[in-house]
């Protein structure tokens, strides 16, 4: 099952025909679950993600409560059938790390002080994975939080940049992630339609300082496009509700 490294950029285009700074097709729908307080279904390329938010609600056991603010949980989880080789159910080290940094991206943005002693739980399931699941999950979680009516200082929008065949590209898909030189997932706080700060940032691979800086600019442009789609999804949901 050893894989040959394919050429990732041919004639200035990527394997799936995209330009360097082009996102994969994105589909976002808010309010897709009955039981959850807020929810979102999101496709980003071949990724299929579903996010649910529960809360603010009581925290059990009690000693986990914080008397002055809400406690945030974020659980990133992959379905066993979401990847080529069946994944054993339950958290592994990778998903523990992703859950941690994702939670930390949301914590300063959620107005936790409004909900003392309570918990806000964000659960995100990867039903189908195709690179960039952590950023796709952050985008879905963001919409689900808005759908749940959780008060936030802005919205989180996430996208990765990669270096493949020496070239910076936006929103890498599986082959680019597997065979590329570097991968940099970003999440941003967007407020008043402006990117205000970096909420999540990881990186592995090898890039020059200059490439990292350029990558950030590319990611920001991509994030603004995703942000518009997140807004649209939320609008559609409200609109539907009004009509009903």
């Amino acid at each position: 099952m050893s894989e040959e490294r394919p050429q990732l950029i041919v004639d200035g285009k990527r394997l799936d025909g995209r330009d360097f700074d082009e996102l994969r097709p994105i589909k976002i729908e808010a309010g897709v679950l009955r039981r959850a307080d807020g929810s979102c279904y999101l496709e980003m390329g071949r990724n299929k993600i579903i996010a649910a938010v529960y809360g603010p609600r009581e925290v059990h056991p009690r000693h986990l409560q914080d008397p002055s603010r809400a406690v945030i949980r974020y659980r990133y989880n992959m379905a066993p059938f979401s990847v080529e080789e069946r994944k054993r159910p339950g958290p592994d080290r990778r998903s523990i790390e992703i859950s941690k940094v994702s939670r930390e991206a949301f914590e300063p943005i959620i107005m936790k002080e409004l909900f003392p002693r309570s918990g806000i739980d964000v659960f995100v399931e990867v039903l189908q994975a195709d690179a960039g699941t952590r950023t796709a999950c952050l985008n879905a979680a963001s919409v689900a939080l808005v759908d749940a009516g959780v008060a936030m200082k802005g919205i989180i929008t996430a996208v990765a940049v990669a270096k493949v065949d020496g070239q910076l590209v936006l929103d890498p898909m599986k082959e680019e992630d597997n065979f590329g030189e570097a991968d940099v997932p970003f999440a941003f706080l967007i407020r008043n339609s402006r990117i205000e700060s970096i909420a999540l940032l990881q990186m592995d691979g090898r890039m020059t300082v200059d490439e990292v800086k350029k990558g950030l600019q590319m990611a920001k442009r991509g994030a603004m496009q995703i942000y518009e789609m997140q807004r649209d999804a939320i609008m559609r949901k409200y609109h539907t509700e009004e009509v009903e």
Partner: protein, 259 residues
């Protein structure tokens, strides 16, 4: 607290309507909510299905890979069924290893498929005593608005029906459809006193988790049964449940034939 009071109100409402011979959503006692089956929803899986029964949603993915046979069945494929009641699907589900409800769900679905011999395991031997196909059936709950069990069973058999054995990927010949011999269908009822509500919704279950599941094959044989819940079942009710379950299963089986 508020949660408990709400449950009490719901329960009283369900019971009062039942007293009038009605279900809260106006369904007949032997009527399922609308059912929707989408197959091939997960391209990474060898077979998959999303089933909605009312607002209840579940995805089942089937993955196949070569593995060692059991010593007492050296020429047969192996089914491994697992259910994840992920906390996304209900405010009452908690993260962590499978609890007794997940285990029971997986085992009841598994029994329906196994005992009806839905999959022809004898066609899934690669090298006798050494290598056979392992079939992982993973049940992934998305939204539990009641009766996850029938939704899971339906999604499992639908996913199996559309599954391909990925022989080429493992260099062992040509891909072929997973050989299916039967279409087991489970029908779950909520037993309340002298009444039985087929396909109970979450609100109806506020009365209590008093379930009876009867799974039948395409010749109306019973292949699996499971009484779950702390209640007593009368003999008469049991006979009645058998008959209605057989009849409803025939209807649901038609949906599978239409895939």
């Amino acid at each position: 607290m508020g949660e408990d009071i709400l449950m009490d109100i719901k329960r009283d409402y369900v019971l009062s309507r039942l007293g009038d011979g009605e279900r809260i959503d106006g369904r007949k006692f032997d009527e399922f909510r609308p059912i929707e089956i989408q197959t091939n929803v997960i391209s990474k899986a060898e077979g998959s299905a999303l089933v909605k029964i009312g607002d209840t949603q579940v995805v089942v993915g089937v993955k196949l890979q070569p593995g060692e046979p059991f010593p007492d069945a050296p020429d047969k494929g192996i089914i491994i069924t697992n259910a994840e009641l992920v906390p996304l699907a209900s405010p009452t589900f908690e993260p962590g290893p499978p609890d007794e409800n997940s285990v029971e769900l997986a085992r009841v679905v598994d029994r329906g498929i196994r005992e009806s011999e839905a999959v022809d395991l004898s066609k899934l031997c690669i090298a006798e005593g050494e290598k056979v196909w392992l079939i992982f059936i993973d049940i992934h709950a998305l939204d539990d608005d009641g009766n996850l069990r029938d939704a899971s069973a339906l999604a499992a058999i639908a996913a199996i029906l559309t599954a391909t054995v990925p022989a080429e990927r493992f260099d062992i010949g040509n891909d072929f459809p997973l050989p299916v011999r039967d279409l087991p269908v489970s029908v779950t009822s909520l037993v309340i006193d002298d009444k039985a509500l087929i396909d109970p919704s979450r609100d109806e279950i506020s009365v209590g988790e008093y379930f009876m599941t009867i799974t039948t094959d395409q010749e109306d044989n019973i292949v699996a049964m499971q009484k779950s819940g702390a209640y007593q079942l009368s003999e008469e009710k049991f006979y009645e449940l058998i008959d209605v379950s057989v009849a409803k299963a025939r209807e649901l089986r038609q949906l599978l034939r239409d895939i």
